[in-house]
Each structure stands twice: as structure tokens, then as C-alpha cells.
């Protein structure tokens, strides 16, 4: 068996277990941002598209890879931007501020 492939299989299985452990700790409150963040993370296929575009020779394969790069980059950028927007909104109740502190903030 191809050692590279086997290596990939090891990494894959370990990462799956790790993923389940990590995700099971995420509270339901964060499920949408989590989903959106992981959605951006699978945009890592962009790298695959870049490798293909940078290595193939025939023009029509280049065209396919070029479209793949566009879509992958859209996935990455869009995914991270919406996630950031969402997470920015998650706030704890602001603790009752002392009058002094409030005045200082206004200044």
C-alpha cells in the first residue's frame, strides 16, 4: 500500500476523533457560528484548487481549476466574514456599571 495514502488514513481517522471531541464541547448557543466557521474551514479545498491550477498544462483543465479557485476562495472569505459578524454579536449582559466608570467611558 502506498505509504502516503496510509499516512493520510491515519491522520484522517485521528482528526475525525479529535473533531468529535472538540465539537461535543460546543454549547448549542454557538451551533450556528460553529457551523459557519467549519463551513469556512472546509474552504481549505482552495489549496487543492491552487495546486491543480499551478500544475496542470492543458488550457481546459486550467479553466476548471481556475473556477475551482474562485469558488474555493469565495467559500473561505464568505464563510469567515459571516462567522466573524455573528460572533461579534454574542455578548454577555454588560455588568451594572459604576457611575464613575460610565462617566469615564463617555469621555
Amino acid at each position: 500500500m502506498n505509504p502516503d495514502f496510509l499516512m493520510g488514513a491515519y491522520v484522517f481517522i485521528l482528526a475525525i476523533f479529535l473533531g468529535v471531541v472538540l465539537i461535543s464541547r460546543v454549547p448549542a448557543t454557538l451551533h450556528t457560528p460553529l457551523m459557519s466557521a467549519t463551513n469556512a474551514i472546509h474552504g481549505i479545498v482552495l489549496i487543492g484548487a491552487m495546486i491543480v491550477l499551478g500544475s496542470v498544462e492543458s488550457w481546459w483543465l486550467e479553466a476548471i481549476a481556475f473556477i475551482a479557485v474562485i469558488l474555493g476562495a469565495g467559500n473561505v472569505v464568505g464563510g469567515f466574514v459571516v462567522t466573524d459578524r455573528m460572533l461579534q454579536m454574542f455578548k454577555q449582559r454588560t455588568p451594572p456599571v459604576r457611575p464613575n466608570a460610565a462617566a469615564e467611558q463617555q469621555r
Partner: protein
């Protein structure tokens, strides 16, 4: 293996990137650190992207790569900035589809472009082409449904299970032939056929799935794209793709299971089953007209809210549709100023994607400390004076607990009917997604306030101010 210093540098970069992805997911587990976690993931992605330019295999087309990334970034950035929080599910769906399409296109290009591929790589190529394509078109259909471009539920001509079986069967068959041939002109043609069948499969599999099942579907499609990305990593021998893809695949599968469990339905049933078909709708309509319901005026509802000690708000998809989240928060603050204890009870499948309600309420500046999950708050309904149900239906239906003949029997619900009184804001007496009559609406403790959720909440605000 490492052949030269450049690839060694690149591999180190990928290694660091993979570690950053893992740490970022870890940070995402708490609201306080989640934003930082997302930033870490961005850094990981940037690092992986930059080092790829130095990869030995990447030896030309640099400008095209940069141009492609720039175009993609523009396409992704602006909708992501502008989209409303209520439309988040469809936004996530469309980005997911883009990722799936990327994986599928890479698989096709690799197969057609590289001669002499090993069996393992061929298998990975077939799988990522199939999974990526299904995810791509499936996500587009999910997007269209959530956006209201397609009806929430489309009935396919013919038997849904048969169609699914035929599609999956033909893909398996085609895939096996390609795997056996391993290369050559016939195999290339067949791979493209497989790719096209998979594109069609994505459409046909998601088309019949109803709107309220979308939390499961979106989580599953997310998982599929993650898997396709990992498979692409196998094809290219790139471990950071394998790690990141597997993490996403695991996360998506895990969420899929949580969502399915929260509906007490197997993933298989969501995908292939006919839910709330003939039997359920039939019984609902007939009973609805005869049984009495109590209507309440905004004035009376406001009075009972204002003089309550403990109020729990139960939001549902209706709140998202009506964009009522800001009004709800204003109402809750008014009540809190009067000394009323106001909390929110969130059912896991409320809305159209996992955690949908939490995001909407966060947008309206509701503190996440006030949001309670079903298990946390279910025992408290008995000690609650007024429950305000806004645009939620099936997740509050006591029939899921009491009536073994109900189609939603066994689904965990918010025990709303344990409260002293219940006010339901609802557009009309229509039954929920499952087509099941909600026993709650006929409970003698329940009063109904009909109208658009946003208008009704607005009226309640005015009336509470006047109390």
C-alpha cells in the same frame, strides 16, 4: 517525502496551519473565546494559502491563482457583509455549495490531468467527485428553498425512495467501473458521467425535504463538503486538507446527529422518508374547526406579562420570518425593568439551522446568559407565570409527549404546557411543518394573539409601556 528545502518549508507551514485549525475549533467552544477562534482559523487558512505558492508542484499560473482568489474573495465578501442574520442559513448553504463544487472540480481535473494514478487515489477521486457534487447542488437547492425561491416542500413524481435508490445505485456502479479501469479514455468519460449523475442526485435528494428539516440537511451537507475536502487531501497527498476536512466532516456529522435526535427522527428518515404525509394532515384540519381556542387582546396579554414574576420566551421560525427579534428584546427589557424575570428557551431545532435562534437573539443584543437550552429550562416551566410562544409550533406540542399516535410522538419538546399561562403569538391557526394539530393551542391555559409576530410584539410593547 521531503525532497528539497522549499517543500520542507511548505510542509512546516501546513503543519502549523493544521495545528492552528485544531486550536481554533477548541476556542470556538465558548462564546467568550469564539471570535478569537474564528480569527485563528483565518490565520491558519492564510498561512496554508501563502505557503502553497512555494510548493514545488505549483510552478506556473501564479497570476491566475491570485486573480481567482481575488475574484472569489469579492464574491464571498460582499454578500457576507450584507446578509441579514435571518438569512444566515441560506448564506451558509451557498458557501457550503461553493466548497463542494471546488472539491468536485478538483477531483475531475486531477483524474483527467494526471496519468498513472494509484487505486487509492482513484477511489478518493471518485468519492470526492460524488460527495462534492451532491453537496454542491444539494446546497444550491437548500439555498433556494430557504430563500423562498423554491417551495418548502416539493413532491417528486414517483417514489422518493426508489429515485434515491436508483441514483445511489448507479453512482456506486459507475464508480466501481471507473475504479476497475483506473484510467484511460473510457474511465474518464465514465467519471464525468458519474459527476453529472451526482449533480442531479444532489438536486433530487434535497428537493423533497421540507423546510423544517433544514437543520439536519444543512449540517449534513456541511459534513459532506468537509469529507470531500479531506478526500481531496488524499488525492493530492496534502495532510492539512485531510486534517481540516476531517475536522469539518466530524463536526457536521455530530451536529447532524444532534439535530436528528432533537426531532426524534433518524437521518435516514429525514433524507428519504415521507414525513407528515396523508395521515397527519387529514386528522388535523377537521379537528381544528370544532375545538375552541381562546383569543386574547394585546392589552390583556400585556397586563398578564407585566404583572408576572417569571416569563419564558419561546422563539421559533416565525420570529425569524417576521424579523421580530429586536422587538422581542425590547419587550423583554421593558419587562425586566419592571422586575420581571425574563428568560429564553431555545429548542435545538427551532429555526432553519442549528442554533439559528441564538444568532437572531444575539443580533438583537440579548445576552447569551439569558438563553437556555431545552434540558436546562424544561423543569422551570412549572414555576413560570407566563410563557410567550413566538412563531414556534411543533417544538411545544404536548402531543409529542402524550399521544403515541401523533406523527411527532417521541420528539423532545419544551414543556410549555406546565406553565401557569401561555400566550401564543401566531399568524393563523395553520398547523406547523409536521402538519400536526398543536394540542397546546387548545389548552385552557393558552390564549392566542393572532397576527404577524413583529406587529404583535410591537403592540405588546406599546401596551406594556401603558400599564
Amino acid at each position: 517525502m521531503i525532497d528539497n528545502w522549499r517543500d520542507a518549508f511548505v510542509d512546516l507551514g501546513y503543519f502549523a496551519s493544521a495545528i492552528l485549525f485544531i486550536v481554533s475549533l477548541n476556542r470556538l467552544s465558548s462564546p467568550a473565546t469564539a471570535r478569537f477562534g474564528n480569527r485563528l482559523a483565518m490565520a491558519a487558512m492564510a498561512l496554508a494559502t501563502i505557503v502553497t505558492f512555494f510548493l514545488d508542484a505549483v510552478d506556473h499560473n501564479y497570476l491566475w491563482i491570485v486573480l481567482g482568489i481575488a475574484i472569489g474573495a469579492v464574491i464571498g465578501y460582499f454578500p457576507a457583509r450584507r446578509v441579514q442574520m435571518t438569512s444566515m442559513p441560506q448564506m451558509v448553504a451557498i458557501f457550503n455549495g461553493m466548497g463542494g463544487a471546488t472539491a468536485a472540480l478538483i477531483a475531475v481535473a486531477e483524474f483527467l490531468g494526471v496519468t498513472d494514478i494509484g487505486r487509492g487515489a482513484v477511489l478518493s477521486i471518485i468519492l470526492s467527485a460524488v460527495i462534492g457534487s451532491i453537496s454542491a447542488t444539494g446546497s444550491v437547492v437548500a439555498f433556494a428553498k430557504l430563500q423562498g425561491l423554491l417551495p418548502s416542500r416539493t413532491t417528486l413524481p414517483g417514489n422518493r425512495q426508489m429515485i434515491a435508490a436508483a441514483l445511489i445505485g448507479s453512482m456506486v456502479l459507475l464508480g466501481l467501473v471507473v475504479l476497475l479501469l483506473q484510467g484511460g479514455a473510457t474511465a474518464e468519460t465514465l467519471l464525468i458521467v458519474t459527476f453529472i449523475v451526482a449533480l442531479a442526485a444532489g438536486v433530487l435528494l434535497v428537493l423533497p425535504i421540507g423546510g423544517a428539516d433544514m437543520p439536519v440537511v444543512i449540517a449534513l451537507l456541511n459534513s459532506a463538503t468537509g469529507l470531500a475536502a479531506a478526500l481531496t487531501g488524499f488525492v493530492l497527498g496534502n495532510q492539512v486538507l485531510v486534517v481540516a476536512g476531517a475536522l469539518v466532516g466530524a463536526s457536521g456529522s455530530f451536529l447532524t446527529l444532534i439535530m436528528a435526535r432533537a426531532m426524534n427522527r433518524s437521518v435516514g428518515k429525514v433524507l428519504f422518508g415521507a414525513f407528515g404525509a396523508t395521515a397527519a394532515t387529514g386528522s388535523g384540519d377537521a379537528a381544528a374547526e370544532e375545538r375552541p381556542i381562546r383569543e386574547v387582546s394585546p392589552e390583556d396579554a400585556a397586563v398578564s406579562l407585566a404583572y408576572a414574576q417569571r416569563v419564558i420566551v419561546v422563539p421559533g421560525y416565525g420570529l425569524a420570518v417576521a424579523q421580530a427579534q429586536h422587538g422581542v428584546h425590547e419587550l423583554a427589557e421593558l419587562l425586566q425593568d419592571r422586575g420581571v424575570d425574563v428568560r429564553y428557551a431555545i429548542h435545538p431545532v427551532a429555526g432553519r439551522m442549528p442554533g439559528h435562534m441564538n444568532v437572531l437573539l444575539a443580533e438583537a443584543n440579548v445576552s447569551y446568559d439569558d438563553l437556555y437550552e431545552m434540558e436546562q429550562i424544561n423543569d422551570d416551566f412549572a414555576r413560570t407565570d407566563v410563557v410567550l410562544v413566538i412563531g414556534a409550533n411543533d417544538v411545544t406540542n404536548p402531543a409529542a409527549r402524550d399521544d403515541p399516535t401523533s406523527p411527532i410522538y417521541g420528539m423532545p419538546i419544551l414543556e410549555v404546557d406546565a406553565a401557569a399561562s401561555i400566550i401564543v403569538l401566531k399568524r393563523s391557526m395553520q398547523s406547523g411543518f409536521a402538519g400536526v394539530e398543536n394540542e397546546l393551542f387548545h389548552d385552557e391555559k393558552t390564549s392566542m394573539l393572532f397576527g404577524d409576530a413583529k406587529d404583535s410584539v410591537g403592540k405588546l410593547i406599546t401596551e406594556v409601556k401603558a400599564v
